[in-house]
């Protein structure tokens, strides 16, 4: 054929290699990964951090650095996949770094073997890194230093435990971590504005349903269901004083009208377009009200007061907030689901929505430019970013990052504004909060016990068979104290039997942790490394919705829970 377009180049080598992930986070997500430099501060058996890195090296992060002063010993070989016999006696950081680098020649790997205690005291030592992962056990003063750094320069910090059959990680994100590209599930994204149609949409519906009753069978069966719904809504309004069906009862009645309007005297015995209309009545005939999470964003102080330094997210959010105040709805996203229709009718409908979306975008963009001038911002915000925001306005997310718990040797934990909800969640049946409390107790034990009189490495509960019982008792009693303090801080008064049951659980979880004696099980660390790496990807690409802010995995019952501490 003469008019075929010129032959395509086909995908590049990189696009081929990364095809299966580019379908998830696209070229922009990939660039964000390639610009990252992840630091792992490794410790203990050291598996969970490396399994995390493995899942980040494969999809092509730019750089990673492993800080680990441990020397490879025989027991590493039974749990760590990135070490071999010939590495015995060498630095674990060096050899794990080299074997990880083999996974992807496009990734740069580095290692640091200086002990973390001295390394971290050097000035600006954390400057190169865009992301920090810290594996437990770690001394509280060092974790506190990392946390202070994360706070000061807004670098994400993850703190990870993997002990026996349990794991946990906490995420310290910047105080405002907005996500525009949340990839909502397709079932939640239809926003057809059937109860707030604009003139062009109504005109379209009227044109497509003119003489509906007299239409030939094939025409009748191809009227797009959106036109059908709008047509029958107009009919309904005539009978109901201009009101649309709002109650469940009214909607059911409206649905019956639609069902009866379908023709059944054709060979198929029904009409697909009418079936589609009937199916969406309950879901789509709702006022297009933004979620409270989105409205909260409009009320955020950063949104209300836009300055020269504001992140572009807040400038656009402010502009969309103005749009919402003016019209009571968000900009039309512009997408139309597939439906039974003739090609031309469908494309025409698609264009009605697209045109409206472009019009709404233009208005938002005007506000953005006005704000930019008013606040003397230098670089204009890319129109593409405004467009993306308008398209997904109903699904944007704002995560309020906050510092994670650092368990100090000499002071008690406080829960602040989260005390009440934590105390409540603690006593839910099947709650995993008791596991989190057992981990906090485990950290407290580490903070208060040394391996020997010289200090240095901490003593791990359950390391030796001889100390099993005393260590269990210590961890358990620390955990009880943490739980009691939480209840007290929350001024909660749990049912006595319920609370006794919670204490039994805390005791069992503590016992299971001590049983491991600090051992990582490869499966649990691989699984936890998988979850952590998913989260790292979500945070770096600023796509999907990250964990806010603590995740617990129970490998005995195969369950996870996410809590906000």
């Amino acid at each position: 054929m003469a008019d075929l377009p010129p032959p395509v180049q086909g995908p590049t080598a990189k696009e081929k290699k990364y095809d299966r992930q580019l379908r998830l986070w696209g070229a922009t997500g990939q660039i964000a990964l390639e610009n990252s430099h992840i630091l792992l501060i490794n410790s203990g058996p050291g598996v969970v951090g490396l399994e995390t890195l493995k899942n980040l090296v494969l999809p092509g992060i730019g750089n990673f650095t492993i800080q680990d002063s441990a020397v490879v010993s025989e027991d590493d070989l039974g749990v760590n996949f990135f070490l071999e016999e010939e590495h015995l006696g060498g630095f674990r950081a060096e050899h794990t770094c080299n074997l990880l680098k083999e996974l992807n020649p496009d990734v740069q790997g580095n290692f640091i073997t200086e002990p973390v205690e001295t390394w971290l005291t050097q000035p600006e030592v954390l400057k190169p890194y865009t992301f920090i992962l810290a594996a437990a056990p770690i001394r509280p003063e060092l974790l506190a230093r990392l946390s202070a750094h994360a706070d000061a320069v807004l670098v994400p910090l993850f703190y990870i435990h993997s002990v026996g059959f349990y794991s946990h990680f906490s995420v310290h994100l910047p105080p405002a971590f907005p996500v525009v590209d949340t990839h909502p599930s397709p079932e939640t994204t239809d926003d057809l504005r059937l109860l707030k149609p604009w003139p062009e949409l109504l005109e379209y519906a009227a044109a497509k349903t003119a003489n509906l009753d007299a239409m030939a069978a094939d025409d009748h069966g191809h009227v797009p269901y959106i036109a059908l719904l709008l047509h029958y809504l107009e009919e309904w309004k005539k009978e109901h004083g201009g009101q649309v069906p709002t109650t469940y009862k009214d909607k059911t009645a409206f649905r019956t009208i639609l069902s009866k309007a379908a023709r059944t005297d054709n060979p198929e015995g029904g009409e697909e377009n009418f079936e589609e209309a009937v199916a969406v009545v309950l879901k789509s005939l709702n006022p297009p009200e933004p979620s409270s999470a989105v409205k909260d964003i409009f009320k955020a102080p950063e949104c209300i007061l836009v300055t020269q330094q504001s992140a572009s997210f807040w400038v656009i959010a402010h502009a969309i907030g103005l749009f919402y105040t003016k019209y009571g709805v968000l900009p039309v996203p512009g997408a139309v689901p597939d439906m039974k229709a003739r090609s031309a009718d469908y494309i025409e409908l698609q264009n009605v929505y697209k045109t409206k979306a472009r019009k709404d975008l233009a208005e938002v963009l005007d506000s953005v430019r006005f704000l930019e001038r008013n606040t003397n911002r230098s670089a204009p915000i890319d129109e593409k970013d405004v467009e993306a925001f308008c398209k997904n306005a109903a699904h944007i997310k704002l995560v309020r990052g906050r510092p994670l718990h650092v368990v100090q040797a000499d002071s008690s934990l406080t829960w602040g504004d989260r005390a009440k909800s934590m105390a409540q969640t603690l006593t839910f049946p099947d709650s995993l909060v008791p596991i989190y409390i057992a981990f906090l107790a485990w950290d407290k034990f580490i903070a208060t016990h040394n391996a020997n009189a010289l200090g240095g490495a901490p003593k791990i509960p359950g390391e030796s068979d001889a100390d099993m019982d005393t260590d269990t008792e210590k961890v358990t009693s620390i955990a009880f104290k943490i739980a009691d303090d939480l209840i007290k801080e929350a001024s909660a008064s749990p049912d006595e039997d319920e609370y006794a049951a919670v204490k039994t659980q805390i005791g069992e979880f503590g016992q299971e942790l001590v049983r491991a004696g600090g051992a990582e099980l490869h499966n649990i660390s691989a699984l936890s490394g998988g979850i952590v790496s998913q989260e790292v990807i979500k945070v770096i690409t600023e796509q999907y919705v990250p964990v806010d802010n603590t995740c617990i995995f129970d490998g005995v019952r195969s369950k996870t829970a996410v809590i906000r501490v």
Binding site: M1, D3, L4, V8, G10, A13, K16, K17, R20, Q21, R23, L24, N55, L58, P59, G60, S69, A70, V71, S73, D75, L77, G78, V79, N80, F81, E85, L103, N104, P105, F165, S185, A341, R342, S343, I347, A451, A457, M468, E508, E512, R515, A519, E520, L521, H522, N523, A526, L527, G530, I531, I537, V545, V547, C551, G555, S558, K559, T560, V562
Partner: protein, 439 residues
């Protein structure tokens, strides 16, 4: 240097060659608060050492599973996979390098893990699971599946159910199955005939509804419709003599250009090369992290099952299914999927599964619908009733003899409440359904 110091201490009950298993042995030597004292014997290393375990699939999940089992102390692992390595595997199948492209996955993965984890023996088989018979599957203590095909899962499931001899407990082979798509996945444990099986759970993994042929042929609306048209109709019309190879860039380019041209005719935006490839090859997004989660969950269950170090999923009457979702925060739902009495594979046989049938549909339409229906998913069904053969495709002779039925209406061929027995070459079993007229 805590590690070096600790490793010099002897571990209770182990000889020197268990030094590398120090961490694992903490769990194997010590009972925990949730271990069943009747089942768990401290220091029973043989429970994993001697267990022969089969891994089906050496792809995204399989690579992880082999690594995990080797580092859980399993020493005798077999692996089956018929595929060779493709460059698009390298973003997650971490046992393979660019130089391995074109080699067999099972062979390459087995050699890599054997080299890395000393003392483990991995026996690869580069071929189809259907090449092997019951006597082969009988040798294993359990089977871990990391497959991307529902059909292969159903085949091994039906095979394991068929192997059960109620008088011989050794014929019961627990099946641990994992699957992923993007940031989501699931892990499940099946005790054939005792707990809900793959077939009982079939409707949880419904295939995507196919676009009707008339939409593709006459009224396309989406870029995907144009691609499917190029794939199903245009190729057949213009390049019939060439077998379509979806891995051949020239073929994909041809389809892409055809689809693009058709899209332009209908003013449909959005056809791209990458989308063409995705639609034609039915590509499911896949990443290393999700595979890591699901594979490790499967292996955690395998380890607990072998050692009784803690309770496992799948014990009759307890949770047997973990669903994982990672795209919006992290969410898991772990539950007991109930065994279905009318399951065509593991059901008692006393009840046939009800199947809604449109009485005015032709047999041809009914046959085609079986491929898509979530509870059936049979692509080449042969259908019999108690009295006659409605349509048999398994043998050319019989196909000819029964073909005339295809144009007849269903209510002409069967009665409401009548039982149909459906077979499909892809499965070593028969499916029994009871006809219910669609209202």
């Amino acid at each position: 240097m805590a590690d070096a110091a600790a490793s010099s201490q002897p571990t209770a009950g182990s000889d020197t060659n268990r030094a590398r298993w120090k961490y694992l042995d903490r769990i194997l030597n010590r009972p925990g608060p949730f271990t069943d004292p009747d089942e768990f014997r401290p220091g029973n290393y043989a429970s994993v050492d001697r267990a022969k375990i089969l891994v089906i699939g050496a792809g995204g999940l399989g690579c992880e599973i082999l690594k995990n089992l080797a580092l859980s102390g399993f020493k005798d692992i077999h692996v089956i996979d018929m595929d060779t390595i493709d460059v698009s595997n390298l973003n997650r199948q971490f046992l393979f390098r660019a130089a391995d492209v074109g080699s067999y996955k099972a062979e390459t993965a087995a050699r890599f893990v054997e080299k890395r984890v000393k003392g483990v023996k991995i026996t690869p088989y580069c071929g189809k699971i259907q090449d092997k018979d019951e006597s082969y599957y009988m040798q294993f203590a359990m089977i871990v599946c990391g497959l991307d095909s529902i059909e292969a899962r159903r085949w091994i499931n039906a095979t394991l159910v068929g192997m059960i001899d109620e008088n011989d407990p050794d014929t019961l082979k627990p099946l641990i199955d994992g699957g992923t798509e993007g940031f989501k996945g699931q892990a499940r444990v099946i005790f054939p005939t005792m707990t809900s099986c793959i077939e009982c759970q079939l409707d949880m993994h419904a295939p995507r509804a196919a676009v009707p042929l008339c939409t593709l042929a006459t009224i396309p609306r989406q870029p995907q419709h144009c691609i499917e048209w190029a794939h199903i109709i245009a190729w057949e019309e213009e390049r019939k003599d060439i077998t379509l190879d979806t891995d051949d860039p020239e073929h994909i380019t041809w389809l892409y250009q055809k689809a693009l041209q058709r899209a332009q005719e209908f003013n449909i935006p959005g056809v791209t090369y990458s989308m063409t490839q995705g639609v034609v090859k039915n590509i499911i997004p896949a990443i290393a992290s999700t595979n890591a989660i699901v594979a490790a969950s499967c292996c955690n269950e395998a380890f607990k099952l072998a050692t009784n170090a803690n309770p496992f999923l799948g014990f009759p009457g307890t949770d047997n299914y973990m669903m994982y979702t990672g795209d919006e925060s992290v969410y898991t739902y772990t539950f007991e999927h109930q065994k279905k009495d009318d399951c065509p594979v593991c059901g008692s046989g006393a009840v046939a599964r009800p199947l809604e049938v449109n009485p005015s549909a032709t047999l041809q339409e009914f046959v085609e619908s079986l491929a898509e229906r979530p509870e059936a998913q049979l692509k080449k069904p042969s259908i019999r009733t108690g009295t006659s053969s409605l349509y048999i495709q398994s043998l050319a002779d019989l196909e000819q003899q029964t073909r005339h039925n295809l144009v007849r209406k269903m209510d002409d061929l069967v009665e409401e409440g009548e039982e149909m027995v459906i077979t499909d070459k892809a499965f070593p079993t028969q499916f029994r359904y009871k006809v219910i007229w669609k209202k």
